[in-house]
């Protein structure tokens, strides 16, 4: 299935994702972005899409995983 994933090698902690879609992304203590647990499938929601489009590092990706 398709999941939202923040590529840690790319994320530089701009926090755009969190500012735009705090229901889907959070920022850890070091300042890097992550997907809120259980929200990996929310990529069709308008806010989440806006966050993905506005990430300056293009660090937020949609990945295919094996699990159901």
């Amino acid at each position: 299935m398709t999941k939202i994933w923040v590529d840690p090698a790319r994320c530089q902690g701009h926090a755009r994702c969190f500012m735009i879609a705090p229901e889907t992304f959070y920022i850890d203590d070091e300042g890097y972005g992550h997907v809120v647990e259980g929200r990996e499938g929310a990529y069709e929601e308008e806010n989440t899409r806006k966050a993905i489009r506005n990430c300056p590092e293009r660090a937020i990706k949609l990945v295919e995983t094996e699990d159901a």
Partner: protein, 391 residues
């Protein structure tokens, strides 16, 4: 002058900023990678994609000897912006937690109360006078106060700061000696704070945290602390003042946009992004090629200086519809105002919040305004406004 002759002397400081958006349009049209003879000669890169790639590739593009061209009036590399990997990561990591959204949120009550206070002062100034310089009364003092609180600089010292910034940032292309003298004053100031801290005086904010911080298991040296302090000072004060001033400059000339943001203040967040994209305080930053390389077909030799023109990337017609229109409702706004990659501006969360909160309170307090006379879009010089009597 033909297009390419203008670009052959491309500059991104001072007066050159008056017409720089025309230069950008020419670059995009005819010469996306080109050579300027200014500041000892450099290549400029203007396409968003090329700038993005360069920022993601610190192995090819060094930030040494300085990300600034010309450099500020110091011999020392500024930590962390003038430091390459692998040393860079540790220095940056120290600062990161101090600039996360959560850390910045703690400053929010003070950001609101200060914005309200300064807006009220602007309002009373308008009661006494038809024309008010809101740069001097609002755009400049606001970030000075917020940043000084965060950094832990004692309030009685704040009046010193703006002159140092003017001399270091704005005089350096005209009078390097003046910039150097101001830089020395600033360094001596930060050193004095450190000495006080080492002598046992409690230091607050970032200055205090850095004094107690360790890197590779050892405390920071005086030189490192001074370098951090110097950079944060220059990065934190003037850029935000510029962003606030240029946003107000735009709004003064666009009453519809002003009315929309007054009516629907929740739009200020997106509007602020658009101001940052189009009128950003950091129009360009420099790199040095570490090896021979090619950008868009142009060969660049090891050791040559290269300028990433963020401001031009932010107006790249391949990325944005109507790139030169300032559309405060624009939603797709992935821009380069804070740079990207490992040197991305650490203060972006702080800067964005200061910009949004200051505009909110300014618009809530000051009725419809316009420019009292033509002023440049850029810089932190005066911004004289008059009230229209509308709304």
């Amino acid at each position: 002058m033909s297009d390419n002759e203008t670009l052959a002397e491309f500059d991104f400081h001072g007066k050159a900023l008056d017409t720089i958006f025309d230069d950008y349009a020419q670059m995009h049209e005819s010469k996306p990678v080109g050579r300027s003879s200014k500041y000892g000669g450099f290549w400029y890169i203007c396409k968003s994609e090329d700038i993005f790639d360069a920022e993601q590739d610190p192995q090819t593009w060094s930030v040494g000897p300085s990300m600034l061209l010309p450099s500020f009036g110091t011999e020392m590399p500024l930590i962390p912006i003038d430091i390459d990997p692998p040393t860079h990561a540790g220095f940056r990591k120290l600062l990161l937690p101090m600039f996360t959204p959560m850390a910045i949120n703690k400053l929010e009550p003070g950001m609101h109360s200060t914005a309200i206070e300064l807006s009220d002062q602007v309002k009373s100034a308008f009661e006494d006078s038809d024309v008010v310089d809101v740069s001097a009364l609002f755009a400049r003092p606001y970030p000075t106060i917020i940043f000084s609180r965060l950094a832990g600089y004692p309030e009685q010292d704040w009046p010193l700061f703006d002159q140092w910034i003017d001399d270091i940032i704005y005089e350096r292309t005209k009078s390097p000696e003046k910039a150097k003298a101001a830089g020395d004053d600033l360094i001596a100031y930060v050193q004095r704070l450190i000495d006080d801290g080492r002598a046992g005086k409690a230091l607050e904010g970032i200055t205090g945290e850095l004094l107690n911080a360790t890197i590779d298991g050892r405390p920071l040296t005086d030189d490192e602390l001074v370098s951090y302090g110097y950079l944060l000072f220059l990065a934190g004060l003037d850029t935000t003042a510029w962003a606030i001033r240029s946003s107000l400059w735009y709004l003064a000339r666009n009453k519809e946009a002003q009315a929309l943001l007054r009516r629907e203040p929740e739009r200020i967040v997106d509007a602020a992004e658009e101001f940052l994209r189009t009128l950003s305080p950091v129009q360009a930053m420099a790199r040095t090629a570490k090896q021979d390389t090619t950008v868009r077909g142009q060969e660049i030799k090891a050791g040559e200086r290269v300028v990433l023109v963020f401001g031009a990337g932010n107006r790249d017609p391949e990325i944005y519809d109507n790139p030169n229109d300032i559309d405060i409702t624009r939603e797709n706004n992935r821009h380069l105002a804070f740079g990207g990659g490992i040197h991305r501006c650490l203060g972006s969360n702080l800067g964005r919040k200061e910009l949004v909160i200051s505009l909110e309170h300014f618009l809530a307090t000051i009725p419809e305004f316009e420019l009292a006379e033509e002023e440049p879009w850029h810089g932190v010089g005066s911004l004289r406004l008059r009230l229209t009597g509308g709304e």
